[in-house]
Symmetry: D2
Subunit: 358 residues, 4 copies
């Protein structure tokens, strides 16, 4: 129905081919070109899609008025200059996680997009999986009640990255999911980070984050490159129900437990007593059916929708910035032996893009 938007993919390494494939397959998009400094690499991606044009010249891509958006999958340290150039050329932008390698850079990118009324979308792919979309919906519907605790474990025998520690490598997934599903987003004021580098690699290979949330709740994230077993599990405890997401169990990824502690505080006559009545619910468990769809397909749809509707993407640059803010604060906490470190507020009002361009 809609005319197709035209996109360029920049970066044909690990993630770019997936972006290219999904843009190519989408009814919303025409994949205009694949841009990489290494033309052979770009060509291999193009061939598998039955022949898309390629280029080494980013300036040419940005100068092409027929291109609406640029999807960027280059190394994190290059996000800042490429994104700014694209925005300044009037292109909408989607950028792989993390948004930038530095919070200030991320902030500049977000401001640039807002001033120009352009979409800057963070490619937080996990947020578009059927499981996470369902979690967000269940929390919004009040199925879980108030959130009491969140426990996320993402451990595996993993590649020890040359340039980033385990926090910057793995925790963006958990943080972006929390930002997506929690009612108020990722609004923790401080974070405490504990890391271990027992192999003396010069960076944390095992890490734990503690984020106190509003109302006495706590989010905890455990990331680990050295675990022989692979676990990807998030538990979200609420006053009404508790949800367990076990991403490696395709037969039952989500379980919602109607179990918990009910606490009825009673004020008694005597001054010193806040007698408490504790009772336990041991109700049914429910595992909602989930479609098996590829999250990246929903990502490129959301990019098109946000451009057409003149609104922020559901995983906006600002959400990418909130993730960066936590990571920077975590690094600061690490340098202080785990003492809690304040998280910089994003201090950015999120106007509608229409408002921004007015």
């Amino acid at each position: 129905m809609n005319q197709r938007l035209r996109a360029a993919v920049v970066g044909a390494g690990y993630w770019g081919p997936n972006l290219a494939r999904n843009l190519h397959a989408s009814p919303d998009w025409e994949l205009a070109t694949i841009c990489d400094l290494d033309p052979a690499r770009a060509q291999r991606v193009a061939d598998r899609l039955g022949g898309v044009s390629i280029t080494q010249d980013l300036d040419q891509v940005l100068a092409d008025p027929s291109i609406d958006a640029v999807a960027i999958a280059t190394p994190a340290r290059t996000h800042h200059p490429i994104v700014l150039a694209a925005l300044r050329a009037g292109k909408h932008v989607m950028v792989e996680k993390p948004l930038a390698d530095d919070r200030n850079n991320g902030l500049e990118m977000v401001r640039e997009a807002q001033q120009r009324g352009l979409v800057l979308m963070a490619d937080h792919t996990y947020c578009y999986t059927p499981a996470v979309l369902k979690i967000r919906e269940l929390i919004q519907e009040g199925m879980l009640g108030d959130i009491l605790f969140v426990d996320s474990v993402r451990i595996n025998l993993g590649l020890i990255q040359p340039d980033v520690d385990v926090f910057w490598d793995l925790a963006p997934h958990d943080l972006s999911i929390l930002d997506f599903v929690l009612p108020g987003g990722l609004d923790a004021a401080t974070v405490a980070a504990h890391g271990a580098d027992p192999l003396r690699t010069g960076k944390s290979c095992v890490g734990y984050l503690n984020l106190p949330l509003a109302g006495g709740a706590m989010a905890h994230i455990n990331v680990n490159w050295l675990s022989p077993t692979k676990i990807r599990q998030m538990v979200i405890g609420g006053t009404r129900r508790t949800l367990v997401w076990d991403d490696l169990n395709p037969q039952q990824r989500l379980s919602v437990y109607d179990r918990g502690v009910d606490l009825a505080l009673q004020s008694k006559g005597s001054a010193d007593s806040t007698a408490s009545n504790v009772s336990y619910r041991l109700g049914d468990t429910w595992a909602p059916a989930l479609q098996e769809t590829e999250a990246l397909g929903s990502v490129v749809t959301e990019l098109a929708d946000s451009i057409r509707e003149g609104r922020e993407a559901r995983t906006s640059g600002t959400s990418g910035l909130r993730v960066l803010s936590v990571l920077e604060a975590a690094s600061a906490s690490l340098r202080c032996s785990g003492a809690p470190s304040p998280i910089a507020a994003t201090e950015i009002t999120e106007p509608t893009l229409a408002g921004a361009t007015a």
Copy 2:
């Protein structure tokens, strides 16, 4: 062969009946009496054992020269006076966890026992399960290599205790196990504790401990009273192998993974490079067979053996004291929003009892 030792059980509430049953069934022990302020409660325990004598009078028990040892299962706040009285009456003592409700009290108990050359044993029952005994053995044999990280999860929908938080309620199990299996015992210098009390009970119901260990390793403990699912799992990662203890999987409680990261640091000519060669082992998994024996039977055997051999018990008062030291430091850390808190050294040399009495 040996003449039986004679024991009294003090406290017939939750744990006392188990002590009584195991002492009664042991070839090492004669169960002399069961002492409780509530004679009906003591009588019910005695009846189930086919008629053991009971008493309300602790002084009478301690004055009885035929009694060698006292096994104490009273509330934690009463451990200090009862244990001191028993030691001063010349009795060997075993006391339920935690050793005391306060580190100074524990210290006084340990010193009293050492000065008198008496056994003061902490009833760290978990340490005598076949799984934990095997873990200790495997680590001592070097099967795991150097320890890189320990991750212990003990979560469940649990009773919210009236007097203690989730750390004091559940973490003594994990801490006493670590003290038992780690080559140097529980020798962390600091602990950071993060707790959450989202139900406003006045105490932490969800808790995390981070204990940096020697050599850059890290122990992490997660305890939680609010989890709808029950997990009791400990992962011990080593340079050679990694062990997973899943206590709720009777078919395969222990798994030893010959998987891991091998890191060969190479010094290159250039100044700035510490090039690293990382490789991955993906070897076999091995699940050692374990007997299904009751741990408490081995506890009472160890009590008898340590008395007869004039040595500290394998889970000595000092190990109970180390657990207390961590718990007190954790409480201090909690009061400081999770900033790491120093753990008091136990500063007690552990002479052989024979040496102490010399």
Copy 3:
């Protein structure tokens, strides 16, 4: 409220102590005596209950007019004479599985009870577990729709019985459960049994039963003494939903899957075509909460209720007889290399006891 009924337990070996304990604890029952040829064995059981009278003399028990019912846990080959004697003495009877060691004996017992208007209850304990009671309820409510298939697996490293094969040892559990939960009870007309005796023990150690059910459905039972892993699982597939009972998963014993194949047969114009429209439902999974109660407590309650209400017990002698009929037919099939063998109809109308005594 009701006056207590008085019961004697006959047989103090493996199962008798459990019967005695539950009768002793029940508000419906007074445990009058424990009868065993070996008085020491009876005494041990009596002691653990705080002193119940014991006897070696069954005749004396049966002659005691104050005793209402006899619960029999003696070897299977003795069930027939003891049950008949008890019924002829006017006692209600509960008897451990299998009802008898021979179908004709079982039939005589059932007839005797009916003629005398006495309760003859089969102690099919599994039927009174919370899981099986819930399965029966769900099927009766139509939750599963029409039954399509039943698959029951009961395998373990098991005791090789001296006198019975794996079918007679283990399959009575599955068969009695099927008789209890299926809408029409265990109404198969034939059974095919395949057994293996690879260790040359003289009897089947591995066995499979196939029971064609009404409407084209099939029940299949797999029993095995030689399996290194323990599985106790039953799948009941229905047109509307499918239920999986995993008895070794206390966290989720029952799962009800709203998944299945929907088949809409359409008659088309052309003569030869029964074109079929197949579609798949992939709906939610639901795990009903179950209480953790001891089944045997419900067994003794049902015995009391059926006596007081003058009705057959829910696991009646007739249901025990249906189990026997299948086992005998299975043995016949085994002797014919697995050819299907007809199952003797129980041919017993089940009058209310009130009717029988009229």
Copy 4:
């Protein structure tokens, strides 16, 4: 090193693209052409491989002297004419399972290949997975001892096939694996098949096979299209150890249990007694590491190797024929309500191809 052999793929539907991709990627093969009656379908496959020639004309393929082998992935009913034509044109042949839709056709194909000294390979892909290759190796090394029982479960919510029942659709996997790993191959003399068609589709949707093996052992296969849960598990019990293959558990696909029953038969003096001493081993469990390689890559390597070495392929046409023989006997058993049906002997000596061509 070797010159590449040249292959054509015939059939570009479901499985053909996988064959094409693996032949294309193999250092042993040059993919000469893709042949399909639907040129658009063939072209799509060719495009994804960066441009392979396509054709609709099978005769032309077979007339091309540069082509060494033909890999056939067409519907089962077409295997017979295409394979015979290819063999008569002097081509080596690999054919998707099942070998043919009829045992006589399969027999004719096998004879034709043997007379011509050509390789006829059954594409039993599962046999080349790392798990099955390891199982074969472990059995050959005697790790399991003598085989006591085999239990294979392959159930899932599956496509109800228009032309075949659940036995012909799924059991070829299990049967070809048994033929591959058992010391004597699939040498059962009879098979009993029990099927259910509770949805009235006109064919069995739930099925069970019982195959008595030599020495009193038994193989049992359970296939099911109606199961809401997916299980792919095979247990192979042996006198020394028992192996469990759980193909859906990537973390531990193979487990070898050193558990079992040890039976020492003793002849006693008395005539009636064959007293048995039964004991139980409860030893360690071991999970061998497995590579994660694509089985089909090993399939095309084996095809090349068998051609070059002038020998039968490890999954030869004869093994495909043994699978067919069991399936035909199973269909006969089904028609007789599950009475055991004799399996036609393959009666084909397996000469080396070199011998055949001599």
